[in-house]
């Protein structure tokens, strides 16, 4: 049986040979998790989707630079995080004087309309109350299943810094969840 990582290697080799259908398979596999990462940083679903398009295009253009010396997912998430941080920086610079960044990052309600599940709504709300860096690291660790070392490769943060931020983020998220739901967290599972 071919594992997920081995399957990625086969697909990347096909993309390098010019097979765009293999690229479509990679996009289908990673698009939702990547969008969740971009959303952690931008906190706006439409902006996150636009940035993700750019990130996948960057990945396609630079696929020849991938040398298989790390997991493909680590390399992809690094591109997604860097592209999103650059977009956020650009957006910050384009703000009118006096405009508050917090307003831009605020939950706009449009996203809420898309949520049909109460549990997902509570978790999203809780993560909105956690610092951007903490939410990003929590998602890289729990959702993307990256090790501390791999997160360090994605974010350029030191391993000690990541451990501390993860600990703080976990605590903040659970506190926020308890406040929002006002009930036992196990009921969310």
């Amino acid at each position: 049986m071919v594992s997920g990582a081995d399957n990625d290697v086969i697909l990347i080799k096909r993309i390098k040979q010019g097979d765009t259908q293999a690229f479509r398979l990679i996009v289908e596999k990673y698009k939702d998790v990547s969008l969740t990462l971009a959303y952690s940083i931008l906190r706006d679903r439409e902006d996150a989707e636009d940035v993700l398009q750019d990130a996948f295009l960057r990945l396609y253009k630079s696929i020849d630079k991938f040398r298989f010396d790390s997991r493909f997912s680590t390399w992809l998430y690094r591109i997604v995080v860097n592209t999103t941080l650059n977009a956020k920086e650009k957006k910050k610079n384009n703000l009118n004087p006096g405009e508050n960044l917090e307003i831009v990052c605020e939950d706009k309600g449009g996203y809420e309309l898309l949520i049909d599940d109460e549990r997902t709504y509570f978790i999203t709300k809780a993560l909105m109350q956690v610092k951007t860096e903490e939410a990003l690291l929590l998602r890289l660790y729990y959702l993307c299943d990256l090790s501390i070392r791999e997160i360090s490769a994605v974010t350029d943060l030191t391993e000690t810094n990541i451990k501390v931020t993860l600990h703080r983020g976990r605590k903040s998220m659970l506190e926020a969840l308890e406040k929002i739901t006002g009930r036992d967290l196990k009921s969310l599972l």
């Binding site: 010019g18 765009t20 690229f23 479509r24 996009v27 289908e28 698009k31 939702d32 998790v33 969008l35 969740t36 959303y39 679903r45 996150a48 989707e49 993700l52 398009q53 996948f56 295009l57 396609y60 253009k61 599940d117 549990r119 997902t120 978790i123 999203t124 993560l127 929590l138 998602r139 729990y142 959702l143 976990r170 659970l174 967290l185 196990k186 969310l188 599972l189």
Partner: protein, 103 residues
């Protein structure tokens, strides 16, 4: 809450892309691929023309004494190297232009 339970929470909280996300992206990728192929063909054609005609022009320049100094290197070799350099330079420039060009 255990680590596995937190992991489960995160896995149930994934933001989904819109339905047309992949198709839009694939259109952009196909456009990029075609642009690259088109430019690559143009550059190869231009380089071949350079390779054929540059030695003739160079010989004419030498014959008419327009170039006022002696060159010990074969004109053919100069033209071959010149054509390769032109190819690399043009390739880089046009790929860059294709990448910057909006869809």
């Amino acid at each position: 809450m255990t680590e596995n339970e937190i992991k489960e929470l995160f896995n149930k909280n994934v933001v989904r892309t819109s339905d047309e996300f992949t198709d839009t992206l694939m259109r952009k990728v196909e456009h990029q691929k075609k642009a690259k192929e088109k430019y690559s063909f143009s550059i190869v054609a231009f380089s071949v023309i350079c390779l054929v005609f540059l030695p003739l022009i160079f010989r004419l320049l030498l014959a008419d004494n327009i170039i006022p100094f002696e060159i010990n290197v074969s004109p053919i070799l100069i033209c071959v190297v010149g054509s390769i350099a032109a190819f690399v330079l043009l390739y880089r420039l046009t790929i860059l232009r294709a990448a910057l060009k909006p869809e």
